[in-house]
Symmetry: C2
Subunit: 637 residues, 2 copies
Amino acid sequence: MRHLNQESFKIEGPVLPKYCKIVLQPSGRRGTFPCETNLLTAALELGEPIESLCGGKGSCGKCMVFINKGIENISDLTDIEKQILTEQEISQHYRLACMTKAIGDVEVTVPEESRRREQVILTEGRKTDFTIDPTVKKYFLTIPLPSLEDLLADQERLAKILAQTHGLENLTIDFPLVKRLPKLLRENKGKIAVTVWNDQEIIDIEPENASKSYGLAIDIGTTTVVVYLLELDTGNLIGIESMTNPQVTFGEDIISRISYVINNLDGLQRLGDIIVTGINSLIEQLAKKHKIDYNQIVEVTIVGNSVMHHLFLKITPEFIGRSPFVPVTHNSMTLKARDVGITVNPSGYVHMLPIEAGFVGADNVGVLIATEIYKSPDVSLVIDIGTNGELVLGNNEKLFSVSTAAGPALEGAHIKFGMRAAAGAIERVKIDETFEPKYKTIGDEKPRGICGSGIIDIIAELFRVGIIEKNGRFADLDTPRLRRNNKVNEYILEWASEAAINSDIVITQKDVREVQLAKGAMYAGAVILMNKFGCTKLDRIMLAGAFGNYIDKKSGMLIGLYPDCDLENVVSIGNAAGEGAIMALLSKEKRGEAMRIARSVQYVELTLEEDFEPEFMNAMYFPHRTDDFPHLKEILD
Amino acid sequence: MRHLNQESFKIEGPVLPKYCKIVLQPSGRRGTFPCETNLLTAALELGEPIESLCGGKGSCGKCMVFINKGIENISDLTDIEKQILTEQEISQHYRLACMTKAIGDVEVTVPEESRRREQVILTEGRKTDFTIDPTVKKYFLTIPLPSLEDLLADQERLAKILAQTHGLENLTIDFPLVKRLPKLLRENKGKIAVTVWNDQEIIDIEPENASKSYGLAIDIGTTTVVVYLLELDTGNLIGIESMTNPQVTFGEDIISRISYVINNLDGLQRLGDIIVTGINSLIEQLAKKHKIDYNQIVEVTIVGNSVMHHLFLKITPEFIGRSPFVPVTHNSMTLKARDVGITVNPSGYVHMLPIEAGFVGADNVGVLIATEIYKSPDVSLVIDIGTNGELVLGNNEKLFSVSTAAGPALEGAHIKFGMRAAAGAIERVKIDETFEPKYKTIGDEKPRGICGSGIIDIIAELFRVGIIEKNGRFADLDTPRLRRNNKVNEYILEWASEAAINSDIVITQKDVREVQLAKGAMYAGAVILMNKFGCTKLDRIMLAGAFGNYIDKKSGMLIGLYPDCDLENVVSIGNAAGEGAIMALLSKEKRGEAMRIARSVQYVELTLEEDFEPEFMNAMYFPHRTDDFPHLKEILD
């Protein structure tokens, strides 16, 4: 119970507290700041990347946030905000972060579209320029109405003008539009707008004052679903919405979702329905927020791993999960939106990017067209660590891919104090020569557990200072940080007294073994690919996905998660899969590239590789039993 | 009240009546026959064409009929019938007409498929041979299952085998089938049957013991809808079902249905729904009767006039009914069955034959590909008299078409005692030199009115014997058959005392004028077409449709319904539109022909023709004001 001191009783009227707590959602980052700190400053200090093009002057309107709790604890609405925000936004407690000061504890939600989109790191040899040339285009036409001298039927009349004015021949027209054509033509005296898909099919007809066409790029991850809304003719990103994949309730990883489908008669239907419904709710939010009609959204591209791809289409993933692990289809699929159940223009198309093989799905194809490693003579290794790990290696001559069940341990699963990257998770660790640790938690809270990047750091540091040996075993050292518990050695990272949980936070010998297995599989996969390719060193390593964004590259190399490489050429490339989906939406050329590349990647089935077993055994060592790491020479010596 | 005589009281036990009345449905033909007459004999005597390949021996099973009323008045089931009929058919009162005797009054339904299909009359220059080569074909495949050495996905695996074994490259697969593919392949160890549409798309996959594929040819008439069920690989006609077009309730002719659509907000929806539902009920009957699953029906072709075409697809016919009378589309349309709502295999296609122009619709295109007048150097005139009259004239060099609002009067509408061709309708008339008529009614019943062929006969006879003059006026003759009633002259065909109705049956001056208007328009249309073509005589006249089947060719020429021609070359061609739909179903070549021919016919808009008015005035005369009729010389002199 809290004691109120005498002094505070004496003061009349409300007391302005000197410090206030600011919590940011959905990241969970939080901190205590002097009162009157503006929310933008606080967010930046907490490492939350809020967009602010005008530098905090209130003129760009990009830093819009939403006050969850403590609406009474913020400064009054400024005149600038009254100009920028709509009445509805104001009534819903939207504010500009740069104009709003905390004068008490507040909880603030940073909407996805206010979050700064981190620029994908561009390195030499990587070129992401592409010409905006979407599959769907809109034409404005004037069509002479029929007369007794000109008896051509409406549809052929439209076709004739499209051919004459734009050279578009032999177009088909989506059947439901035929029904709208006669009245639309006559009511608008022949002046209409026509939306054409792939120079092949008319997919919308509107009066000539028709608005712009939009498209969606969707990344269906095992854990997270992201929907990007783009303006098709300019390529402008209009909005982003994301959510936890609602299938998570039926199984956290791919394998458990496949099991759910196999073990439940209506499993496929349920998992399929729930993801389609989820995506539709994100589309509804985007449409509402950006005031567009869902009929204006005429094209959708989708990436996801093979299982997410199949579940979305209600195709059983059963045989991806069983030897010989083949998907039902490799090719890209282009389906009418109405047949898939996505609530956009029903005549529009949903384009599923192609699948490489087995678990190496359309998400990986998205990564490839975003990184364009197939355009450079340099040999690149792309590592996409999500719920499982996919590797692609190659250059402009050849490409090889492999899938390893490496992910879960590296994301915190099967680790005693493993947790997801949320407030209180240890994300960075240093251990000094006295074996004492220093760490940083997300939101600078008391520690609750260790997230993926923290686990990599700990193992790397334990190895660097000699607490664990090259083979992964704990050394016999005299330090209070090491102890034997239930016959298992463990290193104490934090004592219960300092933790947010009622237990010491430790890393056990078993945890180390889990990481060894995971990283060993990844490394061995990379070696197999290098052997197939015929190279002994890598010019570049690209880390894709959320995990790749947060990992310390040096720690990753130190534990031997990937082979030696100049650390400057180990780069994080963010959500490259989503970026690939956007490119395929905006560029016919990139879409064509996706189909060619997916077919040219040679998939290597690890279970068939005789070398895998010995490579895997060697790769269990830190960083490796025999391989050299010239770029870590200083540390390793 | 009926008196019972003493004699009949004296006889003990039931008395076998000496004569019994037999009524045939749906034709309404009826007659009285000696008891123990078998139903096949009775039907043939009544002019009902029942199929009987075995000559009444009970072995072919083709003469199956259904006892409506008087089930107690027929002979017992024979052993032969017990062999041929199923238990279900027996319980539903089906019998073989040749094996069944009437022993009292009975009413019998002759199902469409037991009715003898009258051979379309073949004349020299008309060739209806075509190779059966349907758009849809079924292939039986053995597909090796995937293994660790062969990781191709299911869909590409299927594509590879289709290419290797049948040279079918780049096939797409209808999306819902992708979902069935993985289990079907594995459960059947790779042995499956694949149905391919137009060498382009896989529209069904089944286990290798799959049954045959079927197709439907549908003729949507303004008054009657006919559905033909055919086996696709053999072309065998399996069954026929027909019904009155249920749209009749909303308007008897095309114009009143267009008005209904314009004047009722949900009019289009209602007229569209009711015809689709009607067709589906016919399909259900066919599927049930012939024990096939509706999924086995994989292709449908449809003919109908432009308005029936539009209403079926729920496309507004408003602008066909308004100057300049253009349809929404000319081209053939190929639509997924599921998008049209027809209950066949949802992945199958519905092919709408192309429309020529205005009212000259897909039915006329059907007539053209059935008659093939475009293959002969002879000049043919095809007259399709339904609810309105369509004319096509031409040969292998050029073709012209025209539409006239000629139909209704010739079908009995607007005629004082006009009626449809049902029991009691006067269908044949002769008038002798004393001006006394002889006539025949359908079913030999007492007369109730006059149907189309009867009207043509009466006018022709009145003209031949001089009761009406060349200009259509009644002559001033002294005969009790002629009288003036309410200031209108009329000819008495039958006195009320002999009629089944309480009135004299007459033909009035106004009736004659109606026929003059109708036949004048038809004739003038033909002359305009001959002028366009540049010919002065016709090699052949073909009369299509039900009306064309019953009309007396000489009477038709005598009233000047069509120009002079050798009467031997005036032929009835039956439901050529339906025949065309069948051909388009069974032959890719004929389907292609339909598209080319529809585009090559030059449509002539009568309202734009300066010559039409004077030609029409001249054509109002019997047979014509100035034209010669060498083939009627004997009669006209």
